[in-house]
């Protein structure tokens, strides 16, 4: 069984400030890790994912996440946020045996303050 913990349900951040959204997971098997984003009135979109290789993965809009196996974490970071980053962010895991079933965290609502 797998579980995902996102401790911060809401994170307010000033525009152009850095942000870190925390994600920890628990699993008895090796996992793939994902961050999904849901912008207001839209569906879930894949932001970035870790499957293998380099533990630091990046998105096209400036977010990055680092897989830390020893700490079972996959925190999401951005050095300077924009108003357009206002959204809810979900961390998720799946096993890496070909089963695409996702286990999600409870989500973090990121609010950017102008």
């Amino acid at each position: 069984a797998q579980s995902v913990t996102q401790l911060d349900s809401q994170v307010p951040v000033f525009e152009e400030a850095p942000v870190e959204l925390r994600c920890n997971y628990s699993s008895s098997v090796s996992v793939y890790l994902f961050w999904y984003v849901q912008y207001p009135n839209q569906g879930l979109q894949l932001l970035l994912k870790y499957l293998s290789g380099s533990t630091l993965v990046e998105s096209i809009n400036g977010f990055e996440a680092e897989f830390n196996k020893s700490q079972t974490s996959f925190h999401l970071r951005k050095p300077s946020v924009h108003i357009s980053d206002t959204a809810e962010y979900f961390c998720a895991v799946s096993d890496n045996f070909g089963n695409e079933k996702l286990t999600f965290g409870t989500g973090t609502r990121l609010t950017i303050i102008p």
Binding site: Q42, L44, K101, L102, T103, F104
Partner: protein, 111 residues
């Protein structure tokens, strides 16, 4: 290519009524998933179709929920009779084995 389409986008029904949600996956995607998010909680897996077959329905909450995917194309999720705790956002996703595409979800409110 067209994305995953879900409708209705919103539905408000009374307790005891029946509601049917529909999901049209991306053409050619054999895998179709249903997930649900109850207010403030995590998004939870409901079930997984491979073509028209139910591969995994371990997340279905109870027998008031019935999912079908006749012909391996679109899928429906029927709730009958609906209860207050069924309120939430129901997401559908499709995949051809290389990652999901999610629909925008159906927000179901049972009053």
């Amino acid at each position: 290519e067209a994305g995953v389409t879900q409708f209705p986008s919103h539905s408000v029904i009374e307790k005891g009524q029946t509601v049917t949600l529909r999901c049209d996956p991306i053409s050619g995607h054999d895998n179709l998933y249903w997930y649900r998010r109850v207010m403030g909680k995590e998004i939870k897996f409901l079930l997984h179709f491979v073509k028209e077959s139910k591969q995994d329905e371990s997340g279905m909450p109870n027998n008031r929920f019935l999912a079908e995917r006749t012909g391996g194309t679109y899928s429906t999720l029927k709730v009958q009779p609906a209860e207050l705790e069924d309120s939430g956002v129901y997401f559908c996703a499709s995949s051809h084995g290389l990652g999901y595409t999610f629909g925008s979800g159906t927000r179901l409110t049972v009053v």
